[in-house]
Subunit: 565 residues, 2 copies
Amino acid sequence: MTVDNGVAANGTSKPGNGKDISAYSVVQIDRLDHKPPLPSVLLSPFKLDHGPPTSAAGNPEEIAKLFPNLFGQPSVQLLPSASPTLRADAKLKIGVVLSGGQAPGGHNVIAGIFDYLQNYAKGSSLLGFKGGPAGIMRCKYVEITSEFLYPYRNQGGFDIICSGRDKIETPEQFKQAEETAVKLDLDGLVVIGGDDSNTNACLLGEYFRGKKLKTQVIGCPKTIDGDLKSTEVPTSFGFDTACKIYAEMIGNVMVDARSTGKYYHFVRLMGRAASHITLECALQTHPNIAVIGEEVAQFKQTLKQVTEFITDVIVKRAEHGKNYGVILIPEGLIDFIPEVQQLIAELNEILAQGIVGDDGLWKAKLQPQSRALFDFLPQTIRDQLMLERDPHGNVQVAKIETEKMLISMVETELARRKSAGSYSGTFKGQSHFFGYEGRCGMPTNFDATYCYALGYTAGALLHAGETGLIASVGNLTHPTKDWTVGGTALTQLMDVERRRGKNKPVIKKAMVELDGAPFKKFASVRQEWAFEDRFCSPGPIQFTGPTAEDTNFTLMLEQGCQVVF
Amino acid sequence: MTVDNGVAANGTSKPGNGKDISAYSVVQIDRLDHKPPLPSVLLSPFKLDHGPPTSAAGNPEEIAKLFPNLFGQPSVQLLPSASPTLRADAKLKIGVVLSGGQAPGGHNVIAGIFDYLQNYAKGSSLLGFKGGPAGIMRCKYVEITSEFLYPYRNQGGFDIICSGRDKIETPEQFKQAEETAVKLDLDGLVVIGGDDSNTNACLLGEYFRGKKLKTQVIGCPKTIDGDLKSTEVPTSFGFDTACKIYAEMIGNVMVDARSTGKYYHFVRLMGRAASHITLECALQTHPNIAVIGEEVAQFKQTLKQVTEFITDVIVKRAEHGKNYGVILIPEGLIDFIPEVQQLIAELNEILAQGIVGDDGLWKAKLQPQSRALFDFLPQTIRDQLMLERDPHGNVQVAKIETEKMLISMVETELARRKSAGSYSGTFKGQSHFFGYEGRCGMPTNFDATYCYALGYTAGALLHAGETGLIASVGNLTHPTKDWTVGGTALTQLMDVERRRGKNKPVIKKAMVELDGAPFKKFASVRQEWAFEDRFCSPGPIQFTGPTAEDTNFTLMLEQGCQVVF
């Protein structure tokens, strides 16, 4: 079967025009016709309710200077209206771009925008910029038609128009974006991305407004990491699906751990800046230990302390005859440990200065604390730090396999305790990294519905003439019909950071809050999880049945829902 | 909620008596009450139809000598009967043991035996030997009651009684097993295991028969590797679930590859001896390359040839602008390459002789071909070969991360071609190992049903007085009601191997047949898959919906079903 941009007259494949779905699995085909429900407010005439003027997350004076045209604008809510308030005969020309790493549901955002335009502004067109923001700058795009879109509905990945990590930053690049907007006569642009991309979206909206261009810009919150959220934007899409995929695998590994009784599985989970994924996976699966980076940072823990904490649990479990377990580690763990950052900074300095001999004399240049840490690291990690460097000669922190490093350090510590007579168990570590498996999974019903609503919302906001807003769909733990729909002023989410002597606007990443409900829930049960096996196996994501409409624990707890384990 | 061995009067947890399911996920709870359907023949009165005398898979004279009491006995089929042919008031005492690595569905085999006894021989009892065959030898067991069993129904893992890798081999060990059988007054024993365990089951059945013990022994085919099968035993349980879990992950990674367009994902899959898992996952997902160990062995390919084959595909894809892809590799790949085996044998010899200096002079001791191969290997693999050795000082082949080794070798070859001007693409390898995630997954409906039928069958065969058979349930690509049910003489599956000057009976592992339907199907499409992206994403296993009752491609193709991609 071939789905094409227009109808393939003879039914044969026309590569490049549309996606060939003849290779699709039965589940993929089945999902194509899944119709995500919509919030009620989007199903009947609505009006826009503008709130009071907004400020910024921090340094409002600076944000006001950076966004003279957009700062202070109100956020909006869509409310039911007796009759349509927007022109149904508006023919809009809208662009859409996917920015940064994949997250399940991106295709449904695009489907939501498309269907909104079809239903409320017939005759409009939707252009997809290819390969991320570079597609805007180079004016590379594809027109998204019903037939072109169909094969991507409810499917994972970003392959409909692909994504990219370029940024629109320099004056030349803003000029290029302007040229594209003018050339294509764009009424609006939807930027689907994370914190950086939404900051960029706001800058672009500001720039267009300053240039008196008609092109409005609306952002959509995307990232599996879950670190783009606020009061108004309760979650980023993709987090739900990715966590559930990882949790399925963790649950399986737990059953394995208990069945064999001889392995400690160290599972590293994607999510560099914040530990939301690790925390959510912990809430879903009840591991013996889940290391939360924000807690490590808060208490300024050293790598040695983290190692000893893990070792303590292993030793105590061994005393009860349990030589197995499951330990979750956030990908970004070592970024949370100040002493590691310090060591890496010093190493980069030393490596930049010249040759590092085999005699080890160069180690004398390290500060005593860094020297001690370096000697504490396993040999393989030391080699990795010294040998594998990026094109600038810097240590590649991202390449360090934290889970293997911890296994090795725990082994050493256990051997020490065994010699000292305080441990007599057995230890076999198995390492796992769950990352790419999750970020392109088929979206859960929640993500499929949430994304479709986000896209619909973005369409409505553009239709209503709004710019500089992020689509915000709320009340997500209630039935979809009751979800709230609106747009939040992007400037309201912003603060400034000094970078290279300049004030840069940023949407601050939402970190795991140690006094937030998800962490507090975890903290209240983790002692029990450490020693009693309370393993939970969520199983594979189901699209029908009792769990099909479930959301996730992080969202439920943050929204004040009661969760009982 | 606490489920106990008996009813927990006050509803509190009694650790050790029964499994506490209060931590179970909703899907786990939901699956507890799933009732697998049964083949019709097991639902109404049946009789046993004995076939003709059997022979052996090879060397029948030798097998006859090794199994004087069992050799030649007929296989049996259960057929509908007008009235019950077995005594309904028989009170049987049956033991069951899980042997070797986990496979999804093991709990349902036990549930099948239990329910058979409840329905057809009320008053019987079922004892589960703990921790594998060692549990038989040490007479460690637990009585399996309805309440004790309930929390494990349709769940993954082997944690109900756990498993073990001990074997009953020496005369003393057979004596211990005999003592247990006599002490517990066992009428029968069900051994759930792979090829080795079923060989062991047959030896035990022979031994008991020779000793005139009443204890009958029935085997059940278990292994995710899919290498225990024959005409009569169409598949081993667990293969279906494990492959579907791996295929879900591979499908996700494929979507990622196509979305980003910049990674080659090298996925190593569990399955050491045979490449069935890799082949099945290829049929489910359509990767650019799937290396099948049996083909590598058949054509005596060298590691260099495998590397060059992969490199050729990557280069040709780059010419079409595709610098991404997915490549599947069986865990046991290097076991299939004769030159690698030769090198390892020589290294073990050299390492055993004494110190290997940093000067590299020891390399002169290698045969020229081995020396060339050693120099061809990436540095990390050379280090691994030389440094990480088992307690006997031998190279640890199992620890070699084949996927990383291939990435490194492909990188080198691509760099060579780039210098030579025959390649101008970009290459970034990402490595994955999918193993533990699969072998303890929640069983698919197919595995749940198949295992339940196997258990029921084992119960019926014991009830009918049979011994030395493996439960064989056939016609599996048809509706469950039409499945055939019987027992195959284990001696029929056997051949002999000379080991340490002695004839040892073995059930030969079923390898991927290069002239078998699954491989031929793969071979007919792989050229297209290599260059056209025909990626297929099976998505998560569904317990309801259009795919819920699916089986797998290997089974369908082997059973002569038409499969169209």
